[in-house]
């Protein structure tokens, strides 16, 4: 089953109002994504790491996800130094390594990790459904919120169908091998998965219609801003403003 790994927890960040958390996370990503300064990007990583520490997330799943993100960065490190045209470089045979390319790869790596940590600590600590409702409260159009909610819901449906199909094959003695039978079985699995998930999603939609669904979802959990929320969100926002301000001061 697909699990939301990080929602269990009693830390400050788990308690905070999801609206405040989304707000900080979005503002932070904007500042860090747009920066040209390695200092700001590095500050972003520190900020994100601090949040992860505050949220006391289990380190093993965090590590797994971190590795995944950085596999993509690895490709940048392989490609950018070799292809970036810059004035400073270092030559070895036919290979030209550009320092600017390496600097760019480093900057992107810092940005990606900073934003990753921040989203992990702020967004992944609330259930997706709660987050969706928080977005709705923040004025995000209902259509987009539904898109998020139903995507999440149907990922589960597809995953369930997959498990059923796989068990159906396994209980009848299916063992993957390198032969045509295996490939054909996998092709059937994927095909059936699409068709069955589609049919099921249609039936679920019908079930929703039967219960009076008319394009609006109602949120069961109440959101309320406490003093703790206001203070924590203000501190985080100020830190992000400080990060952004640093770059702005240097430019002007």
């Amino acid at each position: 089953m697909l699990k939301e790994h990080f929602i269990q927890g009693k830390s400050l960040l788990h308690r905070l109002d999801p609206r405040g958390k989304v707000l900080v996370a979005c503002f932070f990503s904007l500042v860090v994504a747009l920066t040209h300064s390695p200092v700001v990007a590095g500050g972003g990583v520190v900020f994100g790491l601090l949040l992860v520490l505050i949220a006391r997330l289990p380190w093993r799943p965090v590590g797994r996800r971190l590795a995944l993100v950085n596999i993509f960065n690895l490709f940048l490190w392989l490609i950018l130094p070799l292809t970036y045209a810059g004035s400073h470089h270092w030559q070895w045979g036919a290979l030209v390594f550009s320092y600017e390319g390496a600097a760019l790869a480093a900057l992107i790596t810092l940005k990606a990790n900073g934003i990753f940590f921040c989203f992990l600590a702020l967004v992944a600590t609330s259930p997706v459904v709660t987050m969706a409702y928080a977005l709705q409260r923040l004025g995000v159009p209902a259509k987009l919120v539904h898109l998020l909610l139903f995507t999440f819901r149907y990922i589960h449906v597809i995953e369930q169908e997959r498990q059923r199909l796989v068990s159906a094959a396994v209980v009848r003695g299916f063992k993957p091998r390198v032969d045509l039978h295996t490939y054909r079985t996998y092709a059937y699995l994927v095909g059936m998965l699409l068709v069955k998930s589609f049919a099921r999603s249609q039936r679920v939609y019908e079930a929703m219609l039967c219960r009076g669904f008319h394009g609006r979802l109602y949120c069961m959990s109440e959101f309320s801003l406490t003093r703790e929320d206001v203070v924590a969100v203000a501190i985080m926002l100020l830190s992000v403003i400080f990060l952004g301000g640093y770059e702005w001061l240097k430019i002007s």
Binding site: M1, P127, V129, R153, H156, Q160, R200, R203, V204, E206, A207, M208, L209, C210, R211, G212, F213, H214, R216, Y218, C219, M220, E222
Partner: protein, 243 residues
């Protein structure tokens, strides 16, 4: 509610799935307020299709369908009536879509315009009535088959419909749970149509049983109450009888 008001009125209704054989063939059906009828028939005879037609999930191709005295033609016409009819799907997996049980049960009442607090209270009441209040905070897709079935029933009852359409409500349930459903159904003051292959259950909760055959209803005029013997696989253990 008007006494003896006609809820469903089907006249010479025909239906076939695209490219399939005619499934419902000049079918006539009436249901009045307070009437409790059962539907039996062989697998694939079109019982589920019939219920989906009553709910407007499928559109009939010929004949006339009236809901609460209003003629309906396209699926769109059903929209206003859907919250007055409660359909329990044959496959409980189709019915549940919210993350938690309580949210799923409150979904219908919220759509009907109840406040969050009201909807929650109502959902809890219905769960308690079905003896499954302990499932309220559970995640829907992790329930057992029987639990899913009971929660599905709760989602339907929570809408306080005027008529229930139940598609095999007892399949996969143990004796005690089945008895619970009988008890709840018999205590309800509403009309319902129950599809089931469980004759004892039907005899218990319905007054009249229709037999679906060749796309039509032959009402079971020959129904007689009789005693019969049945096998008790675990006869030495105490158990409850639903009949």
């Amino acid at each position: 509610m008007v006494e003896n008001q006609l809820i469903f009125e089907l006249h010479q209704v025909c239906f076939a799935y695209p490219g399939g054989r005619p499934l419902l063939n000049n079918l006539d059906f009436h249901l009045r307020a307070g009437e409790k009828v059962g539907v039996v028939g062989s697998n694939g005879s079109g019982k589920t299709t019939f219920l989906h037609l009553l709910m407007g999930l499928l559109a009939h191709q010929q004949g006339e369908v009236k809901l609460f005295g209003n003629k309906v033609v396209s699926r769109h016409d059903f929209a206003g009536f859907r919250t007055r009819i409660g359909l329990l799907f044959q496959d409980a997996d189709d019915q549940l879509f919210s993350p938690t049980v309580i949210e799923d049960v409150a979904f219908g009442p919220l759509n009907q315009g109840k406040s969050v607090a009201e909807a929650k209270a109502l959902a809890m009441r219905v769960l308690a009535r079905l003896d499954i209040a302990h499932l309220a905070e559970r995640v829907t897709y992790q329930l057992s088959g029987g639990e899913k079935k009971m929660v599905s029933l709760a989602t339907v009852l929570a809408m306080e419909p005027e008529v229930l359409l139940l598609d095999e409500p007892t399949t996969g349930l143990d004796e005690a749970t089945r008895a619970k459903i009988s008890e709840v159904l018999k205590g309800l003051d509403l009309a319902y149509v129950v599809i089931s292959h469980d004759y004892d259950f039907l005899a218990d909760v319905t007054g009249l049983t229709y037999y679906m055959h060749e796309g039509r209803f032959a009402d079971d005029a020959g129904q007689v109450i009789h005693n019969h013997f049945h096998l008790h696989p675990f006869g030495s253990y105490p158990h409850q009888h639903s009949h």
